[in-house]
Symmetry: C2
Subunit: 272 residues, 2 copies
């Protein structure tokens, strides 16, 4: 499992995957990633599967309650997905190790703290401790954001070796979310160099306007898990100076999580 070159294949939408299961999951994802209920024809176009095949695939997904068919025949995500995810989230040992540390960091800063894990070229948020002052939507746990424009993402990338980093960059499309988003690998690589030296990364409103954060990478000894934590706040309340002042604490907490995880997670994979 040292060379996942071949395993790290495509997950792009509409692409068929591993035999039958892959096709089914690709269809499921197509429905889940749309915003409304999807009619048969919509999915037919999006998935590229032949009619007969798609129809059977959908019936199976409905039978498994991964999808639900409404009375108007359109398809929506079913509840089973949520239940599966809840179980896998609440049984996640890495998250469990990190949680008290996240709380501590939250106490210290008063702002929202995130825990994210690198997956391909994306950061998946795995836990979150809300800002006291926030009134906004709850948990974005499970949300995936591009690594190149998020604090945790860039911090995580700074841990990668040459080959792995190149692979990520090859998959990255530099979409300009804001005026400050990196537009090319060149500037990103320069910043990653700096992050390696400093031990922490900033998000200077690169993913969302008016949102900043400081992040630090988490390395778990004896595991190929790459993760990170961040302290996030709105630009009007959190200055860059403030973030810099927090950086040392963020680094310290990240290290503490990594150390504890190395012990408690055993020598397995330390998996997400």
């Amino acid at each position: 499992m040292s060379d996942d070159v071949s395993a790290a294949k495509d997950h792009a939408a509409g692409e068929a995957g591993t035999g039958t299961l892959g096709k089914a999951i690709a269809v499921l994802e197509a429905v889940v990633n749309s915003d409304g209920p999807q009619r048969f024809t919509d999915i037919l176009a999006r998935s590229g599967q032949p009619r007969g095949t798609l129809h059977r695939l959908l019936s199976h997904l409905v039978e498994e309650d991964l999808l639900v068919q409404r009375r108007d025949l359109s398809y929506e995500p079913g509840l089973r997905l949520l239940t599966l995810a809840y179980r896998s989230w609440s049984g996640n040992r890495f998250r469990d190790v990190a949680e008290p540390h996240l709380r501590h960091l939250h106490e210290l800063t008063g702002e929202t703290v995130h825990l994210g894990v690198l997956r391909q070229a994306e950061i998946v948020y795995v836990d979150k401790v809300e800002s006291r002052q926030t009134v906004r939507m709850s948990s974005q746990i499970g949300k995936a954001s591009p690594a190149y424009c998020t604090g945790i993402g860039k911090a995580a990338l700074s841990l990668l070796g040459h080959t792995e980093l190149d692979e990520v960059l090859a998959r990255t499309e530099f979409h300009a979310f804001t005026a400050h988003t990196h537009r090319s690998a060149a500037t990103l690589l320069a910043e990653i160099e700096e992050i390696r030296r400093e031990g922490h990364a900033f998000d200077r409103e690169e993913h969302e306007a008016e949102i900043r954060c400081v992040a630090a990478p988490i390395a778990v000894a004896g595991s190929e898990l790459v993760a990170g934590i961040s302290v996030t706040g709105p630009a009007y309340r959190v200055t860059m100076e403030q973030l810099s002042a927090w950086a040392a604490s963020v680094r310290a907490v990240a290290k503490a999580i990594g150390d504890e995880a190395a012990i408690r997670l055993g020598p397995g994979r330390g998996g997400p």
Copy 2:
């Protein structure tokens, strides 16, 4: 789709499901529902699949990143499940309609408010607005609890017709979580009668000791969706009198959600 008698088959652990996909999901669920990383042999015993078959099934699940294989060869849930669930949660229109109402109810009571949807004989929590005073673990979104011993569950059951209710009861195993948990269908049915008259249900420390709630069912016109909301609090802080005082508000908010959902969700299924 009026008679889901045949569709409402087994989801029990270890049971194979629909052809290939069903088997794969059954194996996935077996791993997800265990607490630690599972070795091949563990899963072999739990799933009842033959060695060769199971091995291929697991490889496929790993290739799809629904599972991850650690260095010590054991299997854990992969991140893809979390991402899929996030997307399906954040795109859930019913939840979206309900959210502001939940907030309102939370403002009113100061205690935790839940939104749950009935699925088979269980309530799946779909949203939650935290108590101001809580310091406990965040979102149990996606958690499934038995219907017969939760406020929302009993409220939801009170909306069902004879046949449907009987089906649920047939699937229900009356486990005594606390001293107050219903121990048989008889007492439960009696209470459901009362809930039908009153329009709201209580959880008198039936699922968890020291935890009480008031709940009201949500019916969405033109949809077979059955759901409910509740206000929950610790027994030391929330008396039964207090809950009774809140009941009218809970009913009102439930009605408001149902009405708005009927309009905004269209005549489809009003999906989960």
